[in-house]
């Protein structure tokens, strides 16, 4: 049986599944339930400075996007950091950590961008016995209007500065949580590293408006007729998060910097994918909020079964395994030629592939009077659109052509060698192949 034990920055947990800083980790009651359900660790709901806590709206905080059968695909929220007293939180953290020494507890913090504020809170957090801290530089709504959260995360210099203070006033691992609301995520990651961060975690939520009520003309969620952009998360954001993670993992400047992957993780497979892109562990929020803490059981059994199947004995075995295969477009092999192929046994003759290809792609699918659909190899550019729109899994597949075969579309013989854009004759900037 595969060993799911996770060692992230020297912090061990029985599995790599942590709950992200959010309502699921808001208080002792939830966190205890989470640990009982089997979660490996939690990042406690973000703490603010001492004094009167922030105040949340008293109307709806969430908006949602649904798939078929009302499956929740995306969630948007306008919740702030913890609205409970700092000392209450600290006492609870201490109590829970003492009762669950084998689980990871990380304390998320967001205080103003002043050295004094960090210097004041860090010893209090250290005192709880928690395993590390996460700096919330990502919250995109509300807090950013007060110069915190994403407002800090969007300025690499601030990230570096605050990280440095934290390394100075706190002895355990410091994780910097990044905002995706930025053009190039490599910059804040590099800044975190420069400031001495032990790891980065990403992504926090994405600026979003989920819908507009066409009767009241208010964005949703609507507070007394008005709405504010919120933070988007859930399955819909996974592709964005994975791309950002991979950029940090393969950037020479930050390569090797430990990453905690967050964003849309809903199943064991999502988690495995983040790990192959260089994440040492993963954090989950929306999936737990949608289905409850119990889903971790499926994540554990699924990851463990897949690891057994692949012969991986530990998380390290496949951590980052896909990173070398993430490359720039210019390095993709232009001599790789594929053609779509329709399995007539599986085809249910819906015609979606035809509509897609005929109207919006390359007119490479033929339709007969008896509704037989076939690919015209002379026209097919292997774009994959038909595969993506076909309702039947594996009905349309992409078949690679073998070197030596002639591509009926171009009339060219498929070459065995790898050749990319950098050396292509059409590229005005082509460098001659050495």
């Amino acid at each position: 049986m595969a060993d799911l034990t996770s060692n992230f920055l020297g912090i061990t947990s029985p599995n790599p599944f942590w709950l992200a800083s959010a309502p699921p980790t808001d208080k002792e009651y939830n966190v205890r339930r989470a640990f009982e359900a089997g979660w490996g660790g939690v990042v406690w709901k973000t703490l603010g400075s001492e004094g009167p806590p922030v105040v949340n709206v008293n109307g709806p905080r969430y908006g949602a996007i649904y798939g078929a059968d009302r499956r929740l695909l995306g969630l948007n929220n306008i919740e702030l950091i913890t609205d409970r007293d700092l000392y209450t939180n600290l006492e609870e953290i201490k109590r829970v950590k003492a009762d669950y020494p084998d689980r990871a507890i990380i304390v998320s913090i967001m205080v103003p961008c002043e050295e004094g504020a960090w210097k004041a809170i860090l010893p209090l957090v250290e005192e709880t016995g928690a395993d590390g801290i996460e700096l919330n530089f990502g919250c995109p709504h509300g807090m950013s209007e007060r110069g915190m959260g994403a407002a800090v995360g969007q300025v690499p210099e601030y990230i570096e500065m605050v990280t440095r203070w934290c390394k100075q006033y706190y002895s355990k691992p410091v994780i910097v949580k990044l905002t995706p609301n930025i053009t190039d995520v490599r910059k804040p990651a590099a800044a975190a590293k420069a400031g001495g961060a032990d790891a980065v975690s990403l992504i926090n939520t994405i600026n979003s408006i989920t819908s507009v009520n066409l009767d009241t003309m208010s964005p949703e969620p609507s507070i007394d007729g008005k709405g504010s952009h919120g933070g988007y998360c859930g399955p819909a954001v996974k592709p964005i998060a994975m791309s950002m993670v991979s950029e940090i993992a393969r950037n020479p400047e930050t390569h090797g910097l430990p990453i905690s992957g967050i964003g849309g993780i809903t199943t064991w497979r999502d988690a495995a994918e983040f790990i192959t892109l260089g994440c040492g562990n993963v954090q989950v929020c929306t999936a737990a909020m949608t289905y409850g803490f119990k889903i971790v059981q499926e994540m554990i059994s699924g990851l463990s079964e897949w690891m057994d199947e692949k012969g991986h004995t530990s998380i390290d075995d496949f951590c980052g395994a896909a990173v070398p295969n993430v490359t720039d477009w210019q390095y993709l092999n232009l001599n790789y030629v594929a053609k779509a192929k329709i399995d007539q046994e599986l085809c249910i003759s819906c015609g979606r592939c035809f509509a897609a290809c005929e109207d919006t792609s390359h007119q490479a699918i033929a339709m007969s009077n008896d509704r037989t659909f076939t690919v015209i190899d002379e026209e097919c550019v292997a774009c994959n659109l038909c595969v993506n729109v076909c309702p039947v899994e594996d009905c349309i597949t992409m078949e690679a052509m073998r070197p030596g075969e002639t591509d009926p579309r171009t009339g060219d013989v498929v070459q065995p060698e790898y050749a990319n854009w950098t050396t292509h004759p059409n590229n005005p900037a082509a460098k001659a192949a050495e």
């Binding site: 119990k294 059994s301 079964e305 039947v392």
Partner: protein
């Protein structure tokens, strides 16, 4: 239509040879991968799900369905088999319409339950196809347990005991293991020798010896078993059949439905199973429906199921009543048999109609019948048993009987419905209790 269907009397080969295969194929063909994903997608992963509560073995249904949805059917199977080692058979034979699927929130809301039974089959088939066994035995405890009866209750108990490291000897009067899985369940619910395949797979745990054709009361006594083993589990099912107690009950052509089904289940060629032209089945439970349906499938021209009360009182579920009707079985209610006529062999059966209070109305019904199946309930057989409660062995919650060191479960024990899944649950729970008792003895 071959002319043989019209010939009176009890005859074999009434149908074209090819018809037998199509008639007896899987009642619910297995879901393919795509169908399973679509079906699994409908599950809401309910909190404290009602379907779990309705399953006698408390399978974590939302979890196993989510495991199917996330592409790990073997993990799903393990979730199922941890609670119910005969999850494969139960997936085929459970009356889900009165168990898990009846209370599925999507059945309640939309009248369309998540296909729990068929998804369970998808997962367990997937795992069992690989021939591997997902459980391992604990270190040997040196304790020995005798299990009497190799039906679902006995085998479930034996497997759990073996897992805990005990050495188990299962004794069964019949030549093959499986109990009613092998000899009773309708052929179209468990085709392709599934019962034997499942037992062979179950025994891979190790530590279980089966002694066939070894009957309690004939080849050994309960006292000897108590003497020779650290504990005993009785799971003999219900071997006797209730009699009708009317004139002509002993005529040729009048038999017990369970015997007819056992013969059918053991036949290597279904065309060789003789069946009447006009068949009458008396009873209102699962056995009656199964006998009637299978008589029809074997080529009987007219099959009538006669029950003494209303349809709502029948033990067979609405789904099963509808299944019978769809196969062409006629269901007559509120009629009790009064006499069977015929010279040697039965020719006709006579009924009197009764009201809801079972009072005779004086109105009668005569049906032509060259074959009559009694299916008015099975009874416990055997003497020298622990104390009874009603007509079954009296047990406390975890199967403890009145005799120290003797547990009982399944159909032979009091409490619970007479269902495969209930037998599995009782066998498992008794095993846990036996284990605690046996290990507690050591201090």
């Amino acid at each position: 239509m071959p002319a043989d269907v019209f010939e009176p009397g009890i005859k074999s080969a009434r149908l074209e040879p090819a018809a037998y295969e199509t008639h007896f194929e899987d009642l619910h063909p297995p879901l393919d991968d795509h169908e399973a994903l679509v079906a699994a997608d409908r599950c809401y992963f309910c909190h404290d799900a009602p379907c779990i509560t309705a399953c006698p073995t408390d399978i974590d249904i939302p979890l196993f369905i989510r495991q199917i949805a996330t592409g790990t059917p073997d993990a799903a199977a393990k979730t199922i088999l941890t609670q119910n080692i005969m999850g494969g058979m139960c997936a085929r034979v459970c009356p889900t319409e009165t168990l898990c699927e009846e209370v599925c929130v999507r059945e309640v809301a939309e009248g369309k339950p998540v296909l729990i039974g068929q998804l369970q089959r998808y997962a367990t088939d997937h795992l069992q196809r690989q021939g591997t066994h997902p459980f391992v035995r604990s270190a040997s405890t040196g304790k020995t347990v005798a299990v009497v009866g190799a039906g679902p209750a006995g085998l479930s108990c034996a497997h759990r005991l073996a897992m805990h490291g005990h050495d188990v000897v299962v004794m069964d009067a019949a030549p093959k293991p499986g109990g009613l899985n092998e000899y009773g369940i309708a052929a179209y619910k468990t085709p392709n020798q599934f019962a034997q395949a499942e037992v062979a797979w179950l025994l891979q745990i190790g530590g279980i010896e089966i002694r066939h054709e070894t009957a309690l009361g004939k080849d050994m006594t309960l006292a000897a078993l108590r003497e020779g083993f650290d504990a005993v589990f009785l799971a003999t099912g219900l071997g006797g059949v209730n009699a009708l107690g009317i004139d002509g009950d002993d005529k040729e052509g009048v038999t017990d439905a369970v015997d007819f089904i056992a013969e059918l289940r053991q036949a290597s060629d279904l065309a060789q199973v003789p069946i009447g032209r006009d068949v009458v089945v008396i009873g209102g439970g699962m056995t009656a429906v199964d006998a009637a349906v299978q008589a029809k499938l074997l080529g009987a021209l007219n099959v009538t199921l006669v029950y003494r009360r209303g349809r709502d009182r029948m033990n067979a579920s609405v789904f099963e009543q509808d299944l019978a009707a769809s196969k062409g079985v006629r269901i007559v209610t509120h009629a009790v048999p009064t006499a069977m006529h015929g010279n040697g062999a039965v020719r006709e059966i006579e009924f009197e109609y009764v009201d809801n209070q079972m009072r005779g109305t004086g109105q009668t019904l005569r049906l032509p019948a060259d074959q009559i199946f009694r299916a008015i309930g099975q009874t416990l057989k055997g003497d020298d048993l622990p104390d009874l409660e009603g007509r079954k062995i009296k047990v406390a919650s975890a199967g403890q009987t009145s005799l120290q060191g003797v547990w009982a479960g399944g159909d032979c024990a009091s409490g619970g419905d007479d269902l495969t899944v209930t037998a599995v649950a009782e066998g498992r729970d008794a095993a846990e209790d036996m284990h605690n008792t046996l290990m507690g003895d050591d201090g």
